[in-house]
Amino acid sequence: MVTLENISKTYNEGALTAVDKVSFEVKKGELFGLIGPDGAGKTSIFRMLTTVLLPDGGNASVNGLDVVTGYKEIRKQVGYMPGKFSLYQDLTVEENLNFFATLFNTTVKENYDLIKEIYVQIEPFKTRKAGKLSGGMKQKLALCCALIHRPTVLFLDEPTTGVDTVSRKEFWDMLKRLKVQGITILVSTPYMDEATLCERIALIQSGKIMSIDTPAAIIKAYPEPLFAVKSEKMSVLLQDLRKQESVKSCFAFGEYHHLTFQENSPEVQPSLRKNLEKLGHAAIELKEITPTIEDCFIQLMNH
């Protein structure tokens, strides 16, 4: 259970606002995602919640404990995995795990069932120095170390940054299994495609929360029909589309360009197609699509 009320954080004596009056709530046993690009304020929020950074304004609590006054208790109850790999590179996998277990007054044996599924994957390398592990392995070890004391709330700051696609997917599967154990998980990521893996998400940009809801509800709240366009010459197509009077917004999105119209009357689609053909585009594909979280993010950002 995590609550934030108008939490603010500024740096350089107030010159830079990193977190601007952010409020949200994470329910017990929830898998909550904080989605936003680099520099949006995700790490600052995590650090304030894990009591290593003092907020400049507002209140926040974890498990009902205030992050400023109850920091000692919070530090006992939560698990924290910072964005940067922060284990001892010169200690082996086993030594790292044992060290963190002892640090939290517990043993690896005692909570082995919790980390077992993750740990078996890195166990073959238990005598290897942590610095010599691959990115995905490092993340798994860090997760084991953050979990070893059976925390009630788990804070994962960009756990999948710099990890390959396969390991990323595995990582999210592991989080889902942890959720079953009743652990509240707060995770941040700059990857929009990971948003749908969370139960609820908060979209954050420049220190401000733009929207908080389930991924499905956020997609549903997309205000207008969204179309995907494709032709043979994509870069020229983008410029041409932006010149069209009927087009409201248009941006490149993978192999398609996503666009919205000023007015959504039945004739806008055929007329756009005609205009594009006139401009010399061939093999035009135009279809209505369901927005992704990234579409929602861009739409909210431009608003």
Binding site: R47, T50, T51, V52, L53, L54, Y71, K72, R75, K76, V78, Y80, P82, K84, F85, S86, L87, Y88, Q89, D90, L91, E95, N98, F99, F100, T102, L103, F104, N105, C145
Partner: protein, 368 residues
């Protein structure tokens, strides 16, 4: 308690697994002691001299022999003329020349007075002074012998005793200095770097978000370096006793107790540095610049503090190693007990308490 021991063991792993740290920790003290013990010495031994003997009589030959026999001089050759002396100086092969005029012995016998010319290379004034003093002493000895033969009605014979260090060994002076230097450098450098490394690697963040008391983090970081410093101290002590023939007159227990005090002072200084910086490089630079130079200058083993101008003498009082140096010299060389060094000890205790207080006060339980 188990947490604490695990933490200390982890610190030892860090030390023993990093070749650079190991080298610094054990190579530095040994290098320092060898450097100061054998290479950088202000004793003058085997200076090369030449003798130009125009007299070549019993007196001149006897003096030449005495010069050649002394430890300080090494007789290069006997030259025939003044011109050769200058050539020898120019080449830099000799430091001193002694010239006996013709009829040296007969002058001495007939007129009760004779002259000897002593020419020294004064490009290094201290060395030239020392060398001419040596020659003077040898001449005085020779005169003494002759006077004894003739029996004057009265004479004053100085009876000189060099206390604590009869052989005038330089090692007695700088071994305690090197001890102070090594302890201060190693402790300040190692603690500050090891704490800042945790910050740099991001592990400090994880340590903070744990039930482990942040102050214990610091103490458990200091423990390995405390132990290793005592080990280093023992190595230096053994080396200076067995290789350099230094005496150890006083109480070993007192010596280790006082050394522990300096180590704690240095460790808390290292902690203070680590509080005010976030990068290992800065920490290293502050530790080296801020510790090495004052320790070298103001401890008194390289430059006598009494000779310094007033402001520098005042500054020297805030350098902990100065007091430690006095203490160690008193214990090791003079064999004095606690009653002789309680004042210095008190000053050191005060400094340690101050550093500890400030560094604990400044220690951050959060990131910023």
């Amino acid at each position: 308690m188990k947490q604490f021991f695990t933490f200390v063991r982890k610190e030892f792993y860090h030390v023993f697994r990093d070749r650079k740290t190991l080298l610094m920790l054990f190579g530095l003290p040994i290098a320092q002691i060898l450097l100061f013990g054998f290479a950088l010495t202000n004793e003058i031994k085997d200076s090369k001299i030449v003798v130009v003997d125009y007299a070549n009589d019993p007196a001149s030959r006897e003096i030449t022999q005495k010069l050649a026999a002394s430890d300080q001089f090494e007789l290069q050759s006997s030259l025939m003329s003044h011109r050769e002396i200058e050539a020898a100086f120019r080449k830099g092969v000799v430091n001193l020349a002694v010239v006996f005029p013709a009829n040296f012995n007969s002058d001495l016998l007939a007129q009760n007075s004779a002259q000897i010319q002593v020419i020294a290379d004064a490009s290094d004034p201290n060395k030239a002074n020392t060398l001419t003093n040596y020659v003077n002493n040898i001449l005085r000895d020779y005169q003494q012998e002759r006077v004894n033969e003739t029996q004057l009605p009265y004479q004053i014979q100085p009876e000189i005793r060099m206390l604590y260090n009869p052989e005038l060994k330089g090692a007695t002076n700088f071994v305690p200095g090197v001890m102070a230097l090594v302890l201060v450098l190693i402790c300040v450098l190692m603690t500050s770097i090891s704490i800042v490394r945790e910050k740099e690697n991001g592990t400090m963040e994880v340590l903070l978000v744990s039930p482990f008391n942040p102050f214990l983090v610091i103490i458990s970081k200091a423990v390995p370096y405390f132990v290793l410093s005592l080990f280093n101290l023992t190595v230096i002590l053994l080396m200076s006793i067995f290789f350099m023939g230094l005496p150890f007159e006083g109480s070993l227990l007192l010596f280790y107790a006082e050394s522990s005090l300096l180590i704690i002072a240095a460790l808390s200084l290292g902690l203070l540095i680590s509080n005010s910086t976030d990068s290992q490089q800065t920490a290293m630079l502050i530790a080296l610049m801020g510790m090495m130079i004052p320790t070298m200058l103001f401890t008194g083993f390289m430059f006598p503090i009494e000779n310094m101008p007033m402001p520098l003498r005042i500054i020297s009082n805030v350098v902990p190693s100065k007091w430690y140096y006095i203490i160690v010299k008193s214990i090791m060389i003079k064999g004095l007990g606690f009653s002789a060094i309680w004042k210095e000890t008190l000053i050191l205790v005060g400094m340690t308490a101050f550093f500890l207080f400030v560094s604990f006060k400044k220690f951050k339980i959060r990131l910023a």
